[in-house]
Symmetry: D3
Subunit: 206 residues, 6 copies
């Protein structure tokens, strides 16, 4: 015989704490250094743990490339869990130019086509041609790039060791804001004329 009532004494003593096994983001509440506030567990549904939309991105842009992100602001179920993902599409001849993720390692999984990927250190370049079925890892905070080095479209999935990895394109950092061209030249050894030329492309002023 089952003592349902007495069973529930035990169960309730056990289960009330289990709500914290996950913390679905309440994106309307403020962020904290460890992530967003948790939604009330009673309002969490299976939909919070699903993200739709890793379809082919539109690569008709200056990079001939598209990045579709599933970061915590897109996908509240990953809040606080230290992981996120993105889909990368690069048209023939295109590239994701030099960039960093300040607080995340990136793992690239090749799905289609050929990408030459690499990261840079002061003493070495670690770079490889990747084909379907290959993985490449870009350790946290390293400057890296992905170039379509094959024929036709290339597609890859990216996983990050943070639920909000950021993505800082070097060109946008240097040439997309209002840092003065002289200061950029001084701190990069680029010619001022070169700086101004690229600023025109990325919307930088000053």
């Amino acid at each position: 015989m089952i003592h349902i009532l007495l069973l529930f004494v035990l169960l309730s003593s056990i289960s009330h704490a289990s709500v914290n096994d996950f913390c679905v983001a309440d994106l309307k509440a403020p962020d904290t250094p460890s992530g967003y506030h948790c939604k009330s567990p009673t309002t969490v549904t299976a939909d919070d743990f699903v993200f739709h939309g890793f379809v082919a991105g539109n690569t008709t842009n200056t990079f001939n490339a598209a990045l579709t992100s599933a970061f915590v602001t897109d996908f509240p179920g990953i809040n606080g869990l230290g992981i996120s993902a993105a889909r990368l599409d690069i048209a023939q001849g295109g590239s994701i130019p030099m960039h960093t993720h300040p607080a995340a390692t990136e793992l690239l999984i090749m799905v289609k086509g050929e990408i030459t990927a690499g990261f840079l250190t002061p003493t070495s370049v670690y770079s490889k041609k990747l084909k379907q079925g290959d993985l490449f890892v870009f350790p946290q905070g390293q400057l890296h790039f992905q170039v379509n080095s094959g024929k036709g479209q290339a597609t890859a999935f990216l996983a990050f060791s943070s639920s909000n990895p950021g993505a800082q394109l070097l060109d946008l950092l240097l040439f997309g804001n209002n840092l003065s061209s002289d200061l950029i030249a001084q701190t990069t050894f680029l010619d001022v004329a070169q700086v101004k030329k690229i600023k025109a492309r990325f919307g930088g002023r000053g």
Copy 2:
């Protein structure tokens, strides 16, 4: 002579930061991935750091066992400190059936009686008979059990490496909700009849 006033210039520059040496949970505020909001330090009292009630639990239930928890939701002073505790009572013949704590290691301290405890890996069972004065550790996330293998009541204290360790009883996970019996059978290799029989015990539907 003591320059009390000047002393306080130094003291106030030092002491204002010390409030963060602890963060007593404000359980009415939202949770975050790192724990609950901190109560205002001015409202914290010694009572926040005490928990009463590790008395013998009522073991008259289907498991012949009782778990009394002192997790953060019971004991706000442990918020953010990565530790919590519970008291375990198992009547003769009873057990805490197979379960996991998804985000915590468990340390068991035997106080009375005899418990056979163990955890399971794909290749081995690590199991021991424990008597008064013995400790056993269940590494984080491992499936484990505790059985009263002696005569009379057994009592133990449990410590966890998380302020909110959760506790997921395998039977409740598999047989206490509305996951379809066919799907359970497919993903456990149990017979459907067996699944339905245990569902009747733990309140599962479908």
Copy 3:
């Protein structure tokens, strides 16, 4: 003019520390709680950051499924970086049965076919049918499953928030080792006959 010699005084003071931006595993040395020893930076090459072999796995087995892992023991470049990956192939009618990763969150990226995936808590089932382009997250340590619920082969990529996530199949934990059938029955509420039947399938003794 460039003072190459003096430049190198600065560069060497800066660059000697950069070797720690990654720590490629020396898999022949002992492991530690934070991961394997680092290979000497002078022996690291681009090949350490590449993994080959996410090809279709052989699904002719009892699960009609295959998991190809790129964990730290397969892919030394991810050592210490808190991320890893796997490829999942499930033939029509197959499944990855109930399992946990004790110390890692899992992110599933659907590539082909249809998978019904979910995880279980004591009070709810969070489950969805996933198609190409969908993602699903299984929070750390939760019991979960993946079933091919469509027609034809299904393929997904998995990312984990640990470089060595483990993978514990419930059937192997319960029925693949020498834990006594009586103890299993007592701690799962399964019938002994059922336990022995599944043990025969998974090689368990006792």
Copy 4:
């Protein structure tokens, strides 16, 4: 029918990584900031996860108290798991004098007798009389004490949020080594005569 051979293809791809779900200390190898090297998984047995000896300590000493520790150096199975324990016995009139654990929160579980426990901040004392069934938490790094404030022996179990919490008795720090008495007096505002008197008790020189 069971395809044992094909099954093992899947199992071996899955199970090789699971060895890292724990890391039993090899106490003969060097320590690292994250803990000791892991013993080879093939040499791990259930005994590694058990500690014997939480028996009543000998309280016939200057403190009339005994602390029996189960830290990683006593209990290799807890290596890297962020938890440890101790048993505390205090004879009537005895105490564990002022001390800190530099890198661990302490949770005290009262088993017998009465202990007055507390910790000190620059602005407050958080102190309580504890009886059987009470818990008290000493947040990480706080100066704290435990005094037997009842009749007869008092016993408690302690859990720590570190596998190697240390234990620094203030008297030993100040009066048990060779720090000069003048310097101690200057940096504590104690009288030199008082310093020398206590040094005689704790073996300090200088």
Copy 5:
């Protein structure tokens, strides 16, 4: 030609996540175990990342010393970043008496004069005379002191491995609050008369 519009499709998919590369404290909102809530990124300015005021402190107090802190409550830009700083001025003959930072390692950078600094363990004193250009590290939670052992003012900068390291002066802990003199004597082995004498200096009652 630049496809500005299409470029922005890519840019917006990339840049929306970058707001989390920092989390400037909203000091009016509640604290959490991981730090304060983040200010809205749109209200963050360069001023949030600057702290003014590491000028010479007023050392006319009982310690002949001054500590000027740049902790998170003084400097919101460091919220969640695990670092903070302070300026230390000690007049000739003065000292920062014995104290701990419960949750932070301290690094001392000598700028002017001579300081004898050290920390204490139960078995050793690690102490050195420091001059301009020397560094000293006090590991987390260790009891330590700094004495001006030279002629004239001494100045140092301190860095801490926490954005809110606290600072607990032993004299304030023991003699600045209302812990009873008898209990202090019992748990420190100090004479009651000595306790009362120092309490008079630091404002303690009881």
Copy 6:
């Protein structure tokens, strides 16, 4: 009377664990993801916790700047403690050009002269002129610069939230190794001629 012998029973049970309050690096042993192996505690001396040599660096180089580092490889006492430091000297007109620390936040403490410091995000520049007594924080992984914007030498101390923060100068990453000029041009939008011109300065080939 003091029961020295019995006292030592207690002391030895307490003090053996305290060796782990620090972990001085054995720089001859391999590194791990959490840092270097710990030196045997019996060989640790006060000298392990001191670093000498924050003297004015030689700024006669291409940057007119010098960085003197006290990272773990220079200063073994900080191993595993999450903190390190450096001294920065910039001659008039000089600068530390654009660079990142992939795994560390940097805190700058101005000592002398004037430095304009800032970091870049895709949407903003956070930059300030700093004078003696000012602090500036560069959050982890952000691209940043320091320019002597005043008259005469400028000096600052830097603290990092890692014991081995690395330092990656953008010019060295892009122009100091053998990454092909065409690939650099493609992934930075710089002109090939500009790339080759700066490569000549920093020793790059290809």
